[in-house]
């Protein structure tokens, strides 16, 4: 087993190089083409096309009598396109909804494929052996001729996408606009469909018709998490696709009996899981972190506000406060209060001496700002949103934390630089 691994990683076996090149190429072009499938929200149609290429493959084999890669690919493309055309015709004639049309074509074409496949198998034609590898994929079955075809197709597909990139980009975003500026939308759509079907037709070697849709969409989805630019998305998706293909080749080499499609899909999905969780900005972890940061900010500013209110209440006499003073003024969770105070001390906004807390100069200025924002917002709600004075407090409690200096300026200006809030308490002036 260990020697298997080294043989694979060192690419000693020429067959490994062949299979590896094939699966990686397939992974890359499927991911790149898939970016447009994903952006046009056609993931499910892509799934239907993948299933629909099966009868084409079988028919091509029946007529030709042997497994010539070019013939099989042509058959696959023909039946994939046929299903796509039927899908659109049924939808356009309002005979069925898009989702129903997709599901119908997917299952009926696949059913036809299964009929042909089992009929061929029962005939006992010796050359048929291995036709069922197109169901779940078998990377190890990639031959030299296959690789030549894959390589040539990859070059043409990538070339076409590069040349027509702007057109594909625009029809994915807004077909009507593309049409209005004179793009030939129908042609671009057709070309993109052909490219998609073609990609699927060569991809079923490694991934199989049943799971090919994942190779189109999953890397694109992962890539979308990392970037907002389509160009970058295409490159990142290609990278993810290549990685998944690599895993497929590895499995096929170390465990030749297993179908490779499922392994490729599982590795692509794990990459997607990582992207969904950890991508900066859109990922779950990152959004959770923002949430935590917001909560800390609210807590800190609420504590500062407490200081201000207590100082204000005492007419400026009281400066040092105990934990109990703060708790009594506002129902805080003691733990939250303590960690908040610690943070504020670290930031130099609060000073602690023998259990007595007081605001530093910077702290006083920060506290004044929060109170000012709270009261300005209350006044805004009353004047512009016509709320009663007793209804404005809760809203201001939340909004005070998000007002930027710029919005503060707009607020003060619209309100005419006021000095009293709806409860007739003073709005502290702007601090510097």
């Amino acid at each position: 087993m260990a020697s298997d691994y080294t043989a694979f990683f060192l690419l000693q076996d020429p067959n490994v190089r062949l299979v590896l090149a094939g699966t990686i190429l397939i992974g890359i072009i499927a991911a790149i083409t898939g970016c447009f499938t994903f952006l046009r929200k056609r993931a499910l149609a892509g799934d239907a096309i993948s299933h629909s290429v099966l009868p084409g493959v079988c028919l091509a084999f029946l007529f030709y009598g042997e497994k010539n890669p070019l013939v099989l690919m042509s058959g696959a493309i023909a039946s994939g396109l046929l299903s796509l055309v039927l899908m659109e015709a049924v939808t356009r004639a309002r005979l069925a909804r898009p989702d129903t049309a997709i599901a119908l074509m997917l299952s009926v074409f696949f059913g036809a494929g299964i009929v042909l496949l089992t009929a061929i198998q029962h005939q006992g034609n010796a050359a048929q052996a291995g036709l069922d590898k197109f169901l779940l994929g078998k990377a190890a079955s990639i031959t030299r001729e296959d690789l030549q075809l894959i390589g040539l197709s990859a070059c043409i597909i990538v070339g076409l996408i590069a040349v027509f990139f702007r057109g594909f980009y625009l029809i994915s975003f807004d077909e009507d606009f593309a049409f209005s500026i004179g793009f030939r939308v129908k042609f671009l759509q057709f070309l993109l469909s052909v490219i998609t079907v073609w990609t699927i037709a060569i991809g079923i070697q490694s991934t199989g018709v049943v799971l090919m849709a994942a190779l189109l969409v999953t890397p694109a989805l992962s890539a979308r998490m990392w970037t907002d630019s389509v160009v970058r998305m295409v490159f990142i998706a290609g990278f993810f696709g290549a990685l998944s293909g690599y895993v497929g080749a590895f499995i096929s080499y170390t465990a030749p009996a297993l179908p490779t499609g499922p392994w490729i899909v599982v590795s692509a999905t794990l990459l997607a899981g990582i992207s969904l969780a950890f991508a900066p900005g859109k990922g779950l972890v990152s959004r959770w972190a923002v949430h935590q940061k917001n909560r800390r900010k609210s807590t800190d500013e609420n504590i500062l506000k407490l200081f201000y209110q207590l100082i204000e209440k005492s007419g400026g006499a009281q400066h040092g406060l105990l934990e109990e003073d703060l708790i009594n003024q506002r129902s805080f969770n003691l733990q939250t209060l303590r960690t908040g105070l610690k943070r504020l001390i670290r930031k130099g906004l609060v000073v602690q001496l023998a259990g007595v807390y007081s605001l530093s100069e910077a702290g006083m200025s920060a506290a004044t700002r929060v109170v000012r924002l709270h009261r300005l917002w209350e006044l805004y709600l009353q004047r512009y949103l016509h709320l009663e004075p007793d209804h404005v407090h809760d809203d201001a409690e939340a909004i005070e934390h998000v007002i930027t200096p710029e919005i503060e300026q707009m607020l003060a200006e619209e309100l005419g630089y006021p000095d009293k809030d709806p409860h007739q308490t003073n709005i502290p002036p702007e601090t510097l």
Binding site: R94, N294, L381, Y384, L385, L387, D395, V402, I407, L411
Partner: protein, 264 residues
């Protein structure tokens, strides 16, 4: 200008709804009168439909509550009929006009009880009130926009409710249908029902409604039509100079901030 109704059919308190982190309704606080026809007006995207849905509990509230007939909605659901926007429905659905009106009886019958003679009488009555009796067996996709609206109205009538909430019932219907729907609403009012209509045509608003609510994310005015229908209030509804509010909304969205301290 916010005037409180004397006999209250609906009371909304501090309703706030945030959709996709963008405020759709902000702190709405009003009361609507019993036994009158109220119009809810405002520009596109002002939150008119959302307001109705918020009253009905169909959207999650970020703050506040609404009460109907001085009770929680769940206690008086059987007294409330809702007529959604026509576009919200799949009109290709395999159902006839009569099937749709029959749905209006599902509430009182529950999910299992059979329709009785009384129900059939109510359904026939509802169909004839909107003038759709002769279309009872027709599949709903074969109706005109105005007819579809009348089917919805008949379904609401079959509910035999006290409060009717209509979302844009005049959108995409011809003038004579609009008039006949309006006549029906007036008859309902005479029978003591409360009617609330989301509407967008300023021309007709003053004649149609006894009470007007002007809305633009926040509440601009609520009160008797003759007091609310003033140039100044309409201008402040439709010119929408709440730039600060929308900037704050952007901040909430960009920074993923909750709209209430302990909210979501």
């Amino acid at each position: 200008m916010i005037i409180q109704a004397k006999n209250q059919a609906i009371e909304a308190h501090n309703l706030t709804v945030i959709y996709n982190k963008k405020p759709v309704l902000w702190n709405i606080d009003f009361t609507l009168p019993l036994g009158e026809i109220t119009g809810i007006m405002g520009p596109n995207g002002a939150g008119k439909s959302t307001l109705i849905k918020a009253i009905l509990g169909l959207v999650a509230l970020d703050s506040g509550y609404a009460r109907v007939f001085d009770k929680k909605l769940d206690e008086v659901r059987d007294k409330v009929a809702y007529i959604p926007q026509r576009q919200s429905i799949d009109w290709d659905f395999p159902a006839t006009v009569r099937d749709v009106v029959t749905m209006g009886r599902f509430q009182s019958k529950g999910l299992f009880k059979r329709m009785g003679n009384e129900d059939r009488r109510i359904i026939d009555e509802a169909l004839s009130q909107v003038g759709m009796s002769s279309y009872a067996g027709r599949q709903i996709s074969q109706l005109s926009g105005g007819q579809q609206q009348r089917v919805f109205l008949a379904r609401a009538l079959a509910q035999q409710a006290e409060l009717y909430l209509l979302d844009e019932p005049f959108a995409g219907v011809d003038a004579s249908t609009e008039q006949s729907i309006m006549d029906l609403l007036v008859r309902m009012k005479r029978a003591g029902k409360t009617v609330v209509v989301v509407h967008h045509d300023l021309q007709t608003a003053r004649h149609y409604f006894d009470w007007l609510v002007l809305l633009n994310t926040s509440l601009v005015a609520s009160g008797p039509s003759e007091q609310v229908f003033t140039d100044e209030l309409l201008r402040s509804t439709y010119s929408g100079k709440l730039t600060v509010l929308s900037r704050v909304g952007d901040q909430l969205r960009d920074r993923n901030f909750p709209v209430r301290e302990n909210g979501k």
